[in-house]
Symmetry: D2
Subunit: 135 residues, 4 copies
């Protein structure tokens, strides 16, 4: 699935959160996803909340997997280990760079770096495992 197909898929299946995200780039092992940061993602002080960063990493890896295996809505996250390293820059979108490290029959594993747009030091990193239902 390419960026347009992934965008259609999240609109159809995850209508509620779809407007938060934009697929920026898709390649065989990687995917870049934007979080269009909005009032509802912020914590006091204007920083993006942990759950919003978690959601960005989680959706980025999910879409990276779908870009490879097609629209399998039932793939589910089984584990995520996330490190929050820096406060996101205020008033900037976040970009997640997801990388697939293993795409097995039943498990997919990857990692994600999250940056404030224009920044070079990562805000967060995550390792994620997805369970893929039998096809």
């Amino acid at each position: 699935m390419d960026a347009a197909a992934l965008t259609d898929f999240i609109r159809a299946e995850f209508g509620q959160v779809a407007p938060d995200f934009a697929v920026e780039a898709v390649a065989p092992q990687t995917l870049t996803l934007r979080l269009k940061v909005d009032e509802r993602h912020l914590r006091p002080g204007g920083t993006v909340s942990g759950p919003a960063i978690f959601a960005l990493a989680d959706v980025a890896m999910y879409l990276a997997i779908l870009s490879r295996i097609g629209p399998v809505a039932l793939a589910v996250t089984t584990n995520c280990s996330i490190d929050f390293m820096r406060k996101p820059a205020a008033g900037r979108d976040l970009l997640a760079e997801a990388r697939i490290l293993k795409l097995g029959r039943s498990l997919a594993v990857g990692d994600v770096l999250v940056f404030s747009e224009g920044g070079s030091d990562p805000v967060a990193r995550a390792g994620l495992t997805y369970s893929i239902p039998p096809r």
Copy 2:
């Protein structure tokens, strides 16, 4: 801080998400937090989303730490490793049981089990580390 003081604190500091949560019980090493599951927490199929479960675990540990050290708004999550083990039961609130394992000068570590209300098998487990600013 007891349950009432913690509730006041999250209302004052996290007004946006405060209505989602209710402190059910506070003890020296543990805290139980309810996620009042609502339409906006759900994924297609009626199951609670991963980010909503993450947020519940994160806030439960945060409040468990505050119950011990007082209202330190600047304590921040540095790491969370979460396992999603079972689909939450439809139409039920979630309860998180947070347990403090270490409360050091600069780092606090604990874990959380998340259950569907009335269920005995955990939906998720998480280990979390918080950085506590110098006091």
Copy 3:
């Protein structure tokens, strides 16, 4: 499998490391494993090394799973998230208390607390996932 059967199993299958460990207690959801701390487990300063603590947690969860499903040598660790919280007490064995949280058809998830013998504050905690081969 009970404590004696598990001990026989690790002697047969993991002869090299078997003398390091002793199964202390087995119950339906839990297992306690002792690391007989020896010179080769120590780092400078006399503290038990991180890899030795990791190995203890890993073997404890593995045996907890085997106690439920029988001698499946090919169950493999797919993820471990471990927090090292305190320096182990010098000159004491370590005890790992493993707890099974999910025992599915293909994945088992649990957590482990590690204590210095006689201590009440945990030295480490770990969450582990095992992949169980089809039977």
Copy 4:
């Protein structure tokens, strides 16, 4: 510290395990470490054990940090989340590529990919956090 200085340091401080490892390359944000795979690192079937892979990732990140801050023997691992993705190739050394993502005053965070020598698919990945004592 360059590769030679790091090698001297681990020989002096970690004499017991030093012969297992060789520093292959050091750059400002990265370090490559070899595990000279030996009989004692193997599990039945000839595969490298999980604790040996954990130790490799842990030492690689430790040395990457020391290469930047100098010989601080008391830096300690506080968290490691490791995914074991593939069986290491038999009869080959393992190479760990550690990358520093944050080097703060009191915490350092990085990740590690582990490969069988000559292989392009990672055997394991880990995210690690180190606590750095006040200087």
